[in-house]
């Protein structure tokens, strides 16, 4: 079994997202000036030009924005079929995060999704998502 790919967690702009996932927390970046979500996370807000952005903890609730079920295998660490989901955060729908689920999953656009963390998240630093 090939190991899955781990996220770099020491990037100065993005690292806290993955470090916090190890502790079961979902952090996202938000602009204190214009209140837009800033994803991918950067210090400067491209929406208003402010540098006054901060990490905020999400409740881990969102809605399903898009998805794809991967059928063509390219990496043995990711056996097909598996389904990649794109979730818009409830607190800040302009922040869209990725998750993955094993197999083909019956999904519907806009359905509620919930972030979850388990032992895998604690070792990989990856928040995951599943239908509520």
């Amino acid at each position: 079994m090939t190991a899955t790919i781990l996220p770099v967690d020491f990037d100065r702009d993005t690292g806290p997202h993955f470090q916090s996932a190890r502790a079961g927390k979902l952090l996202y970046r938000r602009c204190k000036s214009c209140d837009r979500g800033v994803h991918v996370p950067t210090q400067f807000c491209g929406g208003c030009g402010s540098s006054d952005t901060e990490w905020r903890e999400s409740t881990g609730r969102g809605t399903l924005y898009s998805w794809t079920t991967v059928m063509h295998q390219v990496n043995p660490a990711y056996p097909v079929p598996y389904t990649i989901v794109v979730v818009a955060l409830d607190e800040s729908p302009d922040v869209r995060l990725i998750g993955s689920m094993a197999g083909e999953v019956s999904l519907k656009a806009g359905q509620p999704m919930k972030a979850w963390f388990d032992d895998t998240s604690h070792s990989t630093g990856l928040p995951q998502w599943r239908p509520v």
Binding site: P7, V8, T14, V40, M71, H72, V74, N75, S100, L126
Partner: protein, 396 residues
Amino acid sequence: MSVAQEMFRDRTSIVGIGRTEFSKDSGRSELTLACEASRAAIADAGLSVSDIDGVVRCDMDHVTPSAIVGALGISNLSYVAELGIGGSAPCGMVGLAAMAIISGQASAVLVYRALNGRSESRFGAAIVPRSVAGGQGSYDEFFTPYGLLTAPQSFALLAQRHAIEFGTSAEQLGAIALTCRANANRTPHAQMHDKPLTLDEYLGSRMISTPLRLFDCCLETDGACAVIVTSTERASVLPNRPVLIRAVAQGAPAGISGGMMFPSITYRDPMRLAPANVAKTLWSRSGMGPADIDVAQIYDCFTISTLLQLEDYGFCDKGEGGPFAASGSIGPTGDIPINTDGGNMSGGYIHGLNHIVEGVRQMRGSADVQIDGAETCLVTSGPIGISSAMVLRRAA
């Protein structure tokens, strides 16, 4: 006219085109392919190597300017430039060549793209297997650890979103694949020249990443293309009918970030990527609109890429790309014939420089699927990140 329009419009021309054969295994190096296509383009222009004093490279080309300048024996180099990202660059690359000529930095510029895209570096393969991903501005950490590894998967998320918002169907995406294939069937150099494709075969092709099937994906190709740009004044004494560069534009989508293709689904409106903004600038600079365009070479890494751009460039309304494609409007006798040599889907994937070569052939009247009376051609490059496009025009 704005200063930019007055200084640029029709002042430069593409006077030479060249390409190698398109294959699954070229049997030779990418540098050799680049040299063959470049020599063919220089000869086609009625020029010699000693006339070439500028070179433009695509950022993803393994062939560096120093390698090709050395191998071709270019001895009067005075201008070199490069542009990315990958397939989004070619029209912008020609723009860099044109601006160098207009500003006197060079007099004849070679623009090239060479890749052993099937036998050596396959885009369809996952990004090199590795244990850790991300950092250094790649933003891969948000995507690849989840198994989002390839271009088809990334574009599948866009296609699914288009289906969610607008009800786009497999048959509608398939209309783009079938149009490209039918044109390739009439184009001897196209890789799929001998392989017809029916809608049933398209629908029956294996799923790669839902909703995209095998035949929603472009080819992976070994080959090279090259074009020569010079002033329109000089072009008038060269052998080919000059093909005028009417306008070139680049642009970025709202909410763009770093990274390559994967972040597209996180931009403000993934159904309006860079081409939506490139189009505004291009129509303004060219003084034209979609109704003025006779034929279009629209970048087609996937069917959904082309569908989105049909909307972005105004050939139909946003969301109407599916019904528009399925209506026959994009075929050789339709309102806006596209990808007349088969494009990336069925002709050969030379990362978008192939679309420029075909655009020139249409404006010369020498294409295999020649559109009668075509005098204007839109050429677009890839929709990822910062994109580019141009309008070519047949010289009077």
